[in-house]
Amino acid sequence: MNNTVILPMIIPVIAGLIMVIFRNNIRFQRLLSIFAILAVGAVSLLLMNQIRNEGIQTLQAGGWAAPFGITIVADMFSAILLLTTSIVSLFCLIFAFSSIGREREEHYFYPMFLFLISGVCGSFLTGDLFNLFVCFEVMLISSYVLISLGGTKLQLRESTKYILINVISSSLFLLAIAYLYAITGTLNLAHLSLRVAEAGQDGLMTTVAFLFLIVFSMKAALFLFFWLPGSYSAPPTAVAAIFAALLTKVGIYAIFRLFTLVFYHEQETTHFVIGILGAITMVLGAMGAVAYQDIKKILTYNVIVGVGFIISGLASFTSMGMMGSIYYLIHDILIKALIFLLGGMIIHLAGTSKLKDISGLIRNHPYLGWMFFVAALSLAGIPPLSGFLGKVFITRGTFEEGYYWLGAIGLITSLMVLYSIMKIFMNSFWGETYLSREMEKGTTNVSTMLPIGCLTVMTIALGLGSEGIHEYVQIATESMMNPILYIEAVMGGEPIR
């Protein structure tokens, strides 16, 4: 029992609720939201150290023992993702201060942002399938508001589709939960794992597993990504960045959790299909990224490639692949936020997202240009930046398992990613300078450049200093490959069947 486990979930909610009362005091809202996110970051650091020293931390809400009460679990995988989440959301928040606009700030932007963070943290921490659904909904409803806040024509049109897709996939999620409950009679993840292991994962169970895979694929943009390019290009930059960084990752986390903890018995079926889906996702995403000449479209398709690549590590289901996936997940959260902020900055300066109308920005904005260059290399996984290590481990994992085609597709698509992102760099920063400083549609300032700079430094630091987090990633991999650790931590060694 450890009460700190629940804090990352409730700190943002409480802060958000307080902010709703002080609607017009924007300065107070900004301070409180920064404070809340810093608190989440501090708590997740604390949790990481507790987990390293004492093993997986759990909280049985109200003192009700594991399969009956509500369980909240923090293993190293969750804690690492919590820390990354708080870092990225802090920078997106700072970016929002000067770019989001007074109108949105007065219409509950900050409370909604914090509710979103709370939903994300909750999804990472919950130890119960139904609570995962609830946390997903908290996250999604806040994202519905954030994507439509402002009410421009583009936003309204895209948010309608975004909500529709997610409402349907939530219904499917409940459907899958109902089937699983009928078969196993429990929804606690650890208990589910025990029961599935006991009864054996037969055809019926595997079918339900695939239903879950469909649901989470829709949220994670794994293969079912048709909704993503439209939706993620609609909201303002700060919101698009946090969406690209976090929302799909929560779906990925759910896939990882379910297919390492519960449905890991029929790997030649489930994990093979996951591998195929990952490969198709990477190829289609990379083709989209190469084909378009629009900054927003290229960036959104890059999100899709990243999803496919992270999933390849799970498909291999080796320690090496898993470790790669965790490294790459951390990297991907940081770099997707960074690249969306940079892309948004370019669009802000040039007033258009069409590549052919942008040229020569590096004359007036050298720092922006070089940071974009670093981010582009990191995105493609060039050493010594942060994307490299994850890419190496995932590729080795897929080779070890004999999925040579999967590793090869991963590497080929990284080249396509590099091409697509260099296309943005060369088109918008090189060439003749069309726009003088006075003609630019917007300006850079401290509040927008600080988060971009910090994230760039982080991607370099994560690449050079990956030794520093290796111990934590190792622990996370171990607990994912050995479900018994998770089960023992939750059930407390009691013989409940």
Binding site: F130, F133, V134, E137, I141, Y144, V145, S148, G151, K153, L154, L156, R157, E158, S159, T160, K161, I163, L164, V167, I168, S170, S171, L174, L175, I177, A178, Y179, Y181, A182, L187, G230
Partner: protein
């Protein structure tokens, strides 16, 4: 009882799917709402409809009906209520701003 419930759920899903595939935004929202009713009934049916007495202490039954599905449904209904309300308001706003509720015209143009 379970069989007739299953048929009812199937009918609800059919109607919901049909409505979602139409072009009018309002019908689509009604379709999602009907599907979620189907899902709620499914959770209830999947838990077993009546397998004993009411789950109350102090009653003289030896077997109890599982009460967890009802707790799940209650939560699902509340969430669904909020989402549908938000969705309706947003679609009304979309209709006012864009002047159409036809999904074909909400597709978006390549160049804008």
């Amino acid at each position: 009882m379970e069989t007739s419930m299953s048929i009812l759920i199937g009918v609800l899903f059919t109607i919901g799917t049909y409505l979602i595939l139409t072009k009018s935004l309002l019908r689509i929202i009604l379709g999602t709402s009907i599907i979620s009713h189907g899902v709620n009934l499914l959770i209830l049916t999947m838990g077993g409809l009546k397998s004993g007495g009411p789950p109350l202490l102090g009653q003289h039954d030896t077997t109890f009906t599982d009460s967890l599905p009802q707790a799940l449904i209650l939560t699902a209904i509340v969430i669904n209520f909020a989402v549908t309300a938000l969705f309706l308001v947003l679609s009304y706003r979309t209709y006012k701003t864009l002047g159409t509720d036809n999904m074909d015209q909400l597709r978006g143009i390549e160049d804008e």
